[in-house]
């Protein structure tokens, strides 16, 4: 028998159902569309969604076995005990125009002591005074009582020397440009970088996580090609392109090649393609230009057109550390965003004092020092060119030159032999050292560096020894 529905029940059901349909007719549109959406969603979930695969669950024993079986690699691979880095030369005394190795003095063409400020008595005296006033270390980062009045003085002097609005100093040359680039260029930005830039710039570029477009070393046409390609891409996404910053990263005088960048054309292109220029003048500071102000002075370009010039105090200035100069708009940002500035102890005051005195000397001599070094570089270049069998790379006014043997002969082994031979004749030179993970490893070379105090006879002697060495190595 069961529960048979009475006629009355059926009638009630029909009325209810009819009432339901009527209510649908009177319901607002949004209500109906929402209901339809829900129904469709349920249908989709039931019919179309693939079931998630059940995760493989490991037993405790399996997990423990995996842990027990896992063998890590050794922390470091084994090294060759004869590697040159483990058997470096041990020096003694001041490494100035001459250097003492194993008790013998030799002429020094290996260190970045362009203006011979290493061992300068005036600079040493100022440094000693600074130790007697401030002690040795600065004991804190710039934000926490590590800013000493001597730092502010050095920053102001550097800005004045370069005729820029503001300067900022760092406590380590390598960290300067490596901290600057990531402070401005972020993930979505584009960096146009010369392939021949030195390692610190490469690390800065890597740390920034931006898109990097490398152009062939000093090849302005290749740069234009990249810029034109980017312009085409920009036209396709105009709105996004308006928020992508672009930077050109170059060196004034390249450490790895000794040649000067084609700055005038790069500045022209800057206004055409709207990018900012960050130029590293580590080598050209104090060596190029009438008053040592670098490549901008050499080309007579208005320094305001370069957004940021970074450099080091470790070469011409004979101290330690690095700095950057530019407009306040650009430089001030680093005081809160450059990691090597904010999170590191500030430059020891004695090194800042040494740099200030170096600037004093540079400004006193005004043009004589720089005319001399450019003149001697030209003379050295001519003399080197007259030695057959060497390929000289570098501009004639560059105080830094790379010497290579002709192609088939040019190996590190032979260059080392030349260096060793030169040492026996009391000339100290060095093979340029690089790490293997450089972006573009330069060909092996001997890096010759001119000290402004070298006399003509000494330069002749250098060339004579190089000639002799060549004969010895190639026979």
């Amino acid at each position: 028998m069961g529960s048979s529905m009475t006629r009355g029940d059926i009638e009630n059901l029909a009325t209810d159902f009819y009432g339901l349909l009527e209510s649908f007719k009177h319901a607002p549109l949004y209500h109906i569309s929402f209901e339809i959406f829900l129904v469709l969603a349920v249908i989709w979930l039931v019919v179309f969604r693939k079931p998630r695969p059940i995760e493989k669950k490991l037993t405790e024993k399996e997990k423990q076995d995996l842990i027990d079986e896992w063998q890590p690699e050794p922390l470091v691979p084994s090294v060759d005990p004869n590697h040159p880095a483990l058997n470096v030369r041990v020096l003694d005394g001041i490494v100035g125009k001459t250097v003492e190795i194993d008790g013998k003095k030799s002429l020094n063409f290996a260190t970045f002591n362009f203006l011979n400020f290493v061992g300068n008595q005036r600079i040493a005296d100022k440094a000693i005074q600074a130790v007697q006033k401030y002690g040795v270390g600065s004991c804190g980062p710039r934000g926490f009582y590590g800013t000493i009045d001597i730092h502010l003085e050095l920053e102001e002097r550097l800005a004045r020397f370069f005729q820029c609005e503001e300067g900022i100093i760092y406590s380590y040359g390598f960290s300067t440009i490596a901290s600057i680039i990531p402070a401005y260029s972020k993930r979505n930005d584009i960096l146009f970088v010369d392939e021949g830039v030195h390692y610190a710039i490469q690390k800065g570029v890597e740390a920034s996580r931006s898109h990097v477009k490398w152009f062939r070393h000093n090849d302005i046409n290749d740069l234009e090609r990249l810029l034109a390609e980017q312009e085409v891409l920009d036209k396709k996404i105009p709105k996004k392109a308006r928020s992508i910053r672009r930077f050109l990263i170059i060196e004034g005088l390249y450490v790895n090649y000794g040649d000067i960048c084609p700055l005038p054309r790069m500045v022209e292109l800057k206004y055409k393609y709207k990018y900012r220029i960050f130029m590293d003048e580590s080598v050209s500071f104090g060596t190029i230009g009438q008053a040592g102000r670098g490549v901008t002075e050499y080309y007579s370009i208005d320094r305001q057109k370069i957004d940021l010039i970074s450099s080091t105090l470790e070469y011409a200035a004979g101290s330690i550390g690095g700095f950057a100069v530019g407009s306040s708009f650009v430089v001030d940002h680093q005081r809160l965003s450059a990691q090597g500035y904010c999170f590191s102890a500030s430059l020891p005051p004695l090194l800042a004092a040494a740099a200030i005195e170096a600037l004093n000397i540079m400004e006193e001599d005004n043009t004589l020092l720089f005319e001399t070094i450019m003149e001697k570089s030209k003379r050295l270049h001519k003399k080197l060119l007259s030695i057959k069998g060497y390929i000289i790379s570098g501009d004639e006014i560059s105080p830094l030159k790379h010497i290579r043997l002709t192609h088939a002969f040019n190996t590190i082994g032979r260059l080392e032999e030349i260096v060793q031979f030169a040492q026996t004749r009391d000339i100290t030179i060095t093979v340029a050292r690089y790490l293997n993970d450089e972006h573009l490893l330069p060909e092996p070379s001997i890096r010759l560096i001119l000290n402004v105090e070298m006399t003509d006879e000494e330069l002749e002697f250098l060339c004579a020894v190089l000639q002799e060495a060549l004969v010895k190595v190639t026979t």
């Binding site: 890590p72 005990p81 970045f112 007697q132 406590s171 004979g318 090597g340 590191s344």
Partner: protein, 513 residues
Amino acid sequence: MKKEHKDLCRRQSNDDFEETPTWAAVITVLGYALLSVLGWLRDFLRNIGIEKKMTAQDPNPKDFVPLYQSYECFYTRNLYTRIRDVFNQPIASVAGATVQVMERLSEDFNWTFKFSGKKLPSINLGSYNYLGFAENSGPCSEQAIKSLEKYGITTSSTRHELGIQQYMNDLESLMAEYLNVEDCIAFGMGFATNALNIPTLARKGDLILSDKLNHTSLILGARLSGAVTRTFNHNDAKDLEIQLRKAIIHGQPRTCRPWKKILIIVEGVYSMEGSFCNLREIIELKKKYKAYLYVDEAHSIGAIGSHGRGVVDYWNVNPKDIDIHMGTFTKSFGSAGGYIAGKKSLIDHIRIYTHSGCYSTSMSAPIVYQIISALNIIMGRDGTNDGQKRIQQLACNVRYFRRQLVDMGFIVYGNDDSPVVPVMIYMPAKIAAVNREMLKRGCAVVTVGFPATLLTESRVRFCISAGHTKEMLDNALRAMDEVGHLVSLRYSKRNPSRRWHELKRADYDKEYF
């Protein structure tokens, strides 16, 4: 024997992190919200021209892509500039136990500063001078001056090219002896020591497990290495174990290949929290799971431990259990630079592959000689017990200072023996208030807020030095007591709020020597 047992018991005490009171957190967030609203209003007024734009303008034409996003600078323009005078305060003397702070005045609410010429003599509670070696006279600076005359300031060349001076070998072997390890290598900058050397130890295919509160240099080094970096909760050995197990069982993401090696990176003393790492537990884990351990002792070397040999000394562990010892010379040795120490094979590898070997100038002679003389003093090689006295003085100063702060009702973070003493402030306006009021009372302190710390956890961080006398500490405590009362900093629920004069002086004096 009894004293040793007491010492060990005290060392097992966990680092103290009293919880933020809820009402303080709420008011702090409201404070930042109010500042943001005001900031938007001021930006609006600047954009429509009613208020003058005080920031420097871009010298390039207007159609260049803006160098900074406006929201990036929002914080700088509207929050940071209000209290800019408490940061980057210049000094005009040695950063010793006392310091001369140069007075700066601003007529336009911190947009520009002028020096009044006045120098404010203050007790230095901000510089990292744990053993008091920041001196401009004495055996260390004499050695530094002598070395300047003998070696000049720099060699202007890199380690791999021209070579090194004998003093570098001397420093490295002395440091290795001090740390009781096989070999050591020194660099010119502490930050660069981490950033340029971690990439030589880890690469793609490796895993780095880094404490959440690690220093920026460690994070940068880990990032540049190319290895995968994962973080574990601060000082939490249980979380570290979970991460280790997960890593070994599941392998690399996506490919599931086993990791080539796992490197755990921790710090000895964390500079913003003052906590010590649980070295014993971490070493146990490292041995159990065959990982490698890197300990950054930037703040702990020289400052912690009965012989000043850092957390290794403090927890009395075998130095050979730590694979890579790293530290800096800036804090306890009054100089500059960093070092890495460990087995000879490790150091040889670093000598060859470090980025500073080929591309950075060698360390400067006076810097190195300062470290060597400080080390000789600490190790007692100068024939005096000055080194041991300094270490004990520091430990005593730290206990004296911390105990009284806690007993007054302030929330103090970190380990009881840590020379880094963070006291919580929470609210943004108090960051400036505490700094300015303390300076008025002759104490130079460091106050930090967002983004160096979490948004709601602003603090004032004291750095105690062995050079501080009892009188200086008393003055500082008195000043903190007044400022704490003025600005309401006594947040602790565990300890009742007490004024300094209410504390029983005898209790603290008898422990001080």
